[in-house]
């Protein structure tokens, strides 16, 4: 059973639809105690970092997430849910994250190669180049496109925490992993076949 954490930021039903479509057992949860005994947990998220983190703290969900991660449950952060995994974000002044992956979240410079201007947010389909073998990538060809919408990106402290890279003027980590914690900056639920496959791969991960 995959648990999707509902903490009042955005529509989770498309993520649920992508799991339902593939017959992957899942449930949306709102209370911290519901995370106990979970086998897989997804932390979604859209919008800004600070309010998202505040919502997560409101009923102690942040603590429940840390405990679940410590127990070894495969955990996946999506979009802002991925950003929250890090120590802090520079969005709206420095804000503290969950601190599960060392590093921070910074804004795109908007500078392309040879001085061209890139729009921020990045919105649309971009390639992910996988840096090493990982069960999350199984069956997904290197260089497949995923759907992105974001203005900020991760800057992990340790290079080995980066699983996939994407080029938007600057090359940034679009998939990260530290132990049993995975994160995807793109929206797998909106990335057609490669995205569906990634979610299916996640559902097959074993506790670490």
């Amino acid at each position: 059973m995959i648990l999707i954490i509902d903490y009042n930021v955005g529509n989770l039903y498309n993520l649920k639809n992508a799991l339902d479509f593939q017959g992957l057992d899942n449930r949306i949860v709102t209370r911290p105690e519901e995370l106990k005994g979970a086998t897989h947990i997804i932390l979604p998220g859209v919008g800004a970092f600070r309010p998202a983190m505040e919502h997560l703290r409101e009923n102690g969900m942040d603590q429940a997430v840390r405990e679940a991660v410590a127990s070894g449950v495969p955990f996946l952060g999506v979009c802002v849910g991925m950003q929250l995994l890090f120590d802090e974000s520079e969005e709206d002044g420095p804000s503290q994250g969950l601190g599960l992956i060392p590093g921070r979240i910074i804004r795109f410079t908007g500078q392309g190669s040879n001085g061209t201007r890139l729009k921020v947010p990045q919105m649309g389909w971009n390639k992910v180049n996988w840096q090493r073998d990982d069960p999350l990538q199984e069956g997904i060809p290197d260089g497949n496109y995923f759907y992105f919408v974001h203005s900020y990106h991760a800057e992990p402290e340790h290079p080995e925490d980066t699983l996939g890279l994407t080029d938007y003027g600057e090359v940034f980590p679009s998939v990260v992993r530290r132990g049993n914690v995975w994160g995807a900056q793109f929206h797998p639920e909106k990335s057609q076949n490669p995205g569906l496959r990634l979610l299916k791969n996640f559902s097959a991960l074993r506790p670490q």
Binding site: V120, G124, W125, Y145, P194, L196
Partner: protein
């Protein structure tokens, strides 16, 4: 690199596709779901559904369509037409649409853009602008192109961006339906001034037109209807041609393996 997006647009009336659609092998060309899945297989990057249902009572059918689409379509889709309140946006987003497109309502009540962006995120709010050239500038029209507003297109684009709109869908009324090319001038003017994506619409007929809109016109995405519906310029061929001419496109072959069911 970020790929340029190709976006087919479907007109929906009371839950059905209107305007002729001539996909070979379709059981029923009027079923939006079937058509959406066909475009999905063809690697369309997004879909836009424009609700032209006249009566308010029948809008429920569009909500029903959005929720049916969201269960099987795993690319972003937008619903526009007749959305005038935050409650309307809420209903459509809850049904499963990723974005809503605001047109007349945004002009009448610009705070709808700000409130929509604040509540649902900028990525959710598309402002559709129908513009027509008058002298040396372009004017915004509302009510399906019937009502001139006196508002300058570039000024309006800057204002909706400031209010948190995430994307601009720019339709040239002069070019729409002509298949003689997009209006490159206004598209490029607006795209260079704003920092949000601009979708060019109106006038796409040939590969050259799409190429020009995405290069000279500086558009981030292009939207069209008839050339896709009638198969004169199928999405996969268009994308392949643009790719061959050096643009970054997401091709069918890069769509990964079939997952799930």
């Amino acid at each position: 690199m970020l790929a340029k997006r190709i976006i087919p647009c479907l007109d929906i009336k009371e839950g059905r596709v209107v305007k002729g659609v001539s996909f070979l092998g379709l059981r029923d060309a009027g079923d939006p779901l079937e058509l959406a899945m066909r475009y999905n297989e063809q690697s369309a990057d997004e879909l836009v559904f424009l609700d032209i249902t006249a009566s308010h009572e029948n809008r429920g059918l569009t909500l029903d369509l959005a929720s049916r689409l969201a269960r099987v379509l795993f690319i972003p889709f937008t619903i526009g037409g007749g959305i005038s309140t935050i409650e309307d946006i809420h209903r459509i987003v809850t049904a499963g649409a990723d974005k809503v497109s605001l047109n007349t309502a945004a002009v009448k009540n610009p705070t709808l853009v700000s409130q929509g962006a604040e509540r649902f995120g900028s990525q959710c709010i598309v402002v559709a602008m129908d513009v027509k050239k008058t002298g040396d500038h372009w004017e915004v029209y509302t009510h399906g192109g019937r009502t001139p507003t006196g508002i300058d297109a570039v000024e309006w684009a800057l204002e909706v961006e400031r209010r948190g709109c995430g994307e601009i869908l720019l339709t040239s009324m002069d070019q729409d339906g002509q298949q003689s090319g997009f209006d490159l001038e206004i598209t490029s003017q607006i795209s260079s001034r704003v920092n949000i994506p601009v979708i060019a619409s109106g006038g796409g007929g040939t590969v050259d037109h799409f190429y020009d809109a995405l290069t000279t016109g500086k558009a981030d995405a292009v939207l069209a209807a008839s050339v896709f519906h009638f198969g004169t310029l199928p999405v996969p061929e268009l994308k392949q041609s643009l790719h061959d001419r050096g643009l970054c496109m997401r091709l069918v072959t890069q769509n990964g393996n079939q997952a799930g069911a």
